[in-house]
């Protein structure tokens, strides 16, 4: 067997009040793609931070390229050939691609920058990645997938031997994921090793050679992907059987139409006047139904949801609730008409990270909690929090805990509870399980089923096709701001959905 490129063994790391890592380990062979797996809180991020030099371990050893090493800083790790690409990119958005690739290492005489050389080198590296990006483009104007490529280009320019990618596919559409995988395989062929941190096990089966599973900060198991099954890996990750995982649900009894959207159109945005964000979108949802919306990133799913909720303006179209046309020009209007929205980006759009769980949960319910038109009735508020803590199994130390300290799954439950407390007729959930661990995903799915059963019309947007298939009664697909098809979920599978999502609308 070949000597591993990286061997981390018996790594321990303690934060005040929590043992984040306890005998964690990781071995990566030269020229392999290695999956690092585990639930949120399992210790993956901490292990990666230690590997990248951002944090120091309390105990354990790291061998890299046959030497015992201590990574004192990210810069030190990069010098040795270990580069980490975090989920949240570390690019300077207002600078060019070339500047970002060579940031801190600009070529040139003395204090001056040799722009020509920098651009030429950048071009060479991006060509190696099979990309056609102009080195002088401003990073802010690139799409997320392209920005990720710039990160990879930067890693390559540092002559790295090991690239760590933290959830690289979470913000990409499936075509972009394919492209990323092609590049990753290329890098592997060039002899680099890649550590792939992900929640998506299908991707592990598709691209990784070996895997390592962490649970509660410990090394639980590792092996060759070829010898493993998804069910087997899930068992390692959660330490229990998850039979319910993505199981299709029993169909609830579905009632009349609650929300109907007709001819929803939103013309170009500030950057591109020609782009049509939403073109004549029409759909309807019934009482007790879960309507899935599938589509690639940029298909207009989120934009549709935001327009219906009044978060973004639209140019024409009608929103009809219970047979009556309503005027929605702000989230306040939407809420008054019984529509709720759980937005796609929890931290940026839903949570008040510095505030308590209690305050976060009741944020949309101030009206019903107000006494004498002025004061918040905190007794009623606490009762509300307690009610939803029980109903949704929200795990927290106390209602006064700052919400930043909760896991992603529990934060998402609080966000859901915020809307449930209002008793909405229609609840739109945008990527309801993004970035939360498998156990919590199942809980969120079950919760959506229960909401539908209680008579709420649910619109669920998800980029994960197995999820859309599992939770929806009916699925509408979108592409480039248009609805491209509609199908009952029993009749659908991933292939059918994928072809509907990528269908040329003009032919349809």
């Amino acid at each position: 067997m070949t000597e591993p490129l990286l061997r981390m063994s018996l790594i321990g790391k303690r934060f005040p009040g929590v043992q984040a890592l306890d005998n964690a380990g990781l071995e990566v062979l030269p020229g392999e793609i290695h999956a690092l797996l585990g639930e949120n809180g399992a210790g993956k991020s901490t292990l990666i931070k230690i590997l990248s030099g951002a944090q120091q371990p309390d105990s354990g050893t790291i061998e890299f390229a046959g030497q015992n090493v201590t990574m004192t800083s990210p810069h030190d790790a990069q010098r040795r050939g270990i580069v980490t690409i975090y989920q949240e990119f570390t690019l300077a958005p207002n600078m060019t691609i070339a500047e970002n690739v060579f940031i801190g290492r600009e070529p040139g005489p003395g204090v001056f920058v040799d722009w020509r050389k920098m651009a030429a080198e950048t071009k060479k590296i991006t060509a190696r990645l099979g990309l056609q990006l102009r080195p002088m483009s401003i990073v802010r104007e690139l799409r997320v997938a392209e920005q990720q490529m710039v990160e990879i280009a930067r890693a390559l320019s540092m002559k790295s031997q090991l690239i760590v990618m933290d959830e690289p596919t979470s913000a990409l559409s499936s075509t972009e994921v394919e492209k990323l995988f092609r590049i990753v395989r290329d890098l592997k062929a060039q002899g680099l090793s890649i550590i792939f941190v992900t929640h998506r096990l299908e991707e592990v089966m598709q691209i990784c050679d070996r895997y390592t599973v962490l649970r509660d900060g410990r090394l639980i198991g590792s092996g060759a992907v070829a010898d493993a099954t998804i069910q087997g890996i899930i068992r390692l990750i959660v330490g229990r059987e998850v039979n319910a995982l993505f199981a299709r649900r029993e169909r609830a009894s579905i009632g009349g139409v609650v929300l109907r959207v007709e001819g929803l159109t939103r013309l170009g945005n500030a950057q591109d006047q020609n782009a049509t964000v939403l073109a004549n979108v029409g759909l309807e949802v019934h009482r007790g139904e879960i309507l899935g919306i599938a589509g690639l990133v940029g298909a207009g799913r989120t934009e549709m949801a935001r327009a219906v909720f009044g978060a973004d303006p639209f140019d024409s179209g009608r929103v009809v609730i219970d047979g009556r046309e309503v005027r929605i020009r702000s989230p306040q209007d939407a809420i008054r008409h019984g529509i709720g929205l759980v937005p796609e980006d929890r931290k940026q759009q839903a949570l008040f990270l510095a505030l308590a769980v209690r305050t976060n949960l009741s944020m949309a319910s101030h009206k019903q909690l107000t006494r004498w038109g002025l004061f918040i009735d905190e007794v009623a508020e606490r009762a509300m929090v307690e009610e939803y803590r029980k109903k949704l199994n929200i795990r927290m130390a106390s209602p006064e805990q700052i919400i930043a300290g909760l896991s992603g799954g529990n934060q998402q439950k609080v966000t859901l509870a915020r809307w449930l407390a209002l008793g909405p007729k229609v609840l739109i959930v945008d990527e309801p399980t993004r970035g939360i661990d498998i156990g919590a995903k199942v809980e969120v799915h079950n919760l959506l089923f229960e909401l539908a059963r209680s008579g709420i019309a649910v619109i669920a947007i998800s980029s994960e096709l197995p999820e859309v298939l599992a939770i929806s009664d009916r699925i509408v697909t979108m592409r480039e701001g248009r609805v491209t098809g509609e199908i009952m979920s029993e009749e659908a599978n991933e292939e059918i959905l994928m072809s509907m999502m990528t269908l040329n609308t003009k032919a349809a």
Binding site: F15, P16, G17, V18, Q19, A20, E39, N40, G41, A42, D216, G217, V238, G239, R240, F309, A311, P331, Q332, A334, I335, L341, P343, Q348, Q349, A350, L351, F352, L353, A354, L355, T359, M363, A364, H366, L369, T370, L374, F375, I376, E378, N393, R395, M396, A397, S398, Q401, I402, A404, G405, L406, S407, N410, R418, D437, G439
Partner: protein
Amino acid sequence: MTQDPPSDTQTPARIDIIGFLARFAPLIFLIVLMTGFALYEPRFLTPLNLFNVLRQVSIYGLLAVGMTFVILTAGIDLSIGSLVAFAGLVAAAVSKGGISNRFTVGAGQEAASYGWYLAALAAIAVGLIGGFVQGFAITRLKVPPFVVTLGGMSAFRGAALLFAAGGPISGFEPSFVWMGQGRILGQLPVPVVIFLTFAVLAHIVLRYTRYGRQVYAVGGNPEAARLSGLNVRTVTTSVYVIMGFFAGLGAFVLSARLNSAEAVAGTGYELTVIASVVIGGTSLFGGVGTIFGTVIGTILIGVLLNGLVLMNVSAYIQQIIIGIIIVLAVAFDTFAKSRRRTG
């Protein structure tokens, strides 16, 4: 569920230490400072001196209470010193019986003098209007608060200079002067009572009302606030109106205490006031802070200046010390914020 991630149950302990420090650091610092001064200079801990400190800080304190609302929304108001000068002059003129009588010498007996309450109302009205105009510019014209209130700083000062036409307005009727110089029960200076009363009111508003929740929400995450159905523009405008109210009230009390109003009054107040709020633990990033902290921060600055005076430290060095403390307070805030992020 058996698979509770350990972070769920463990992080609160860590957060609480930081939370505790963030909340009580100013108070601890104040106690240490007072103990130090008391040991060094016996005159410091006399009731007379302590009431003096409170009286000196009460106008800064009123302004700092208003500024807390603004900073909680991640805003800033640099115009308050100028607004205080302008509102003070208007109050003075009203007290003197109108613009044409404003330079009449004496306590206004000769002229048709109005009572203190009309003067107070006039000052507050000026403050409210000034605050509303700035809030409107920030929320509707989408100009950053820093720029709008920098403009206001210049414009209100100009208005004050124009209004004063060069000279101070002084010599008010006794009931007006009492609001600034009088004592209740022979002990409590009136400005201190006004300051603490409004601090308590503001505390109740921020802590217990629906509006207070909205201020924290808008400051903590405006987008999430909007998507939760809050009217972000109205809330944002309102904090500048509240700031304006306190600027007007502060201007009234200041004129009464000095028995005079002049166009250069309030110069540099914005710095001391922002410092008081920030030292009191309110985050410049918005969404975090309390009136209690602001009151402590205000008193802290007052005690510091008073103690340094008693120790014969030069006014120039005092300014240097205040400057350093502001930077340290913000550094602490940034540190606390980074802990909240990772927590």
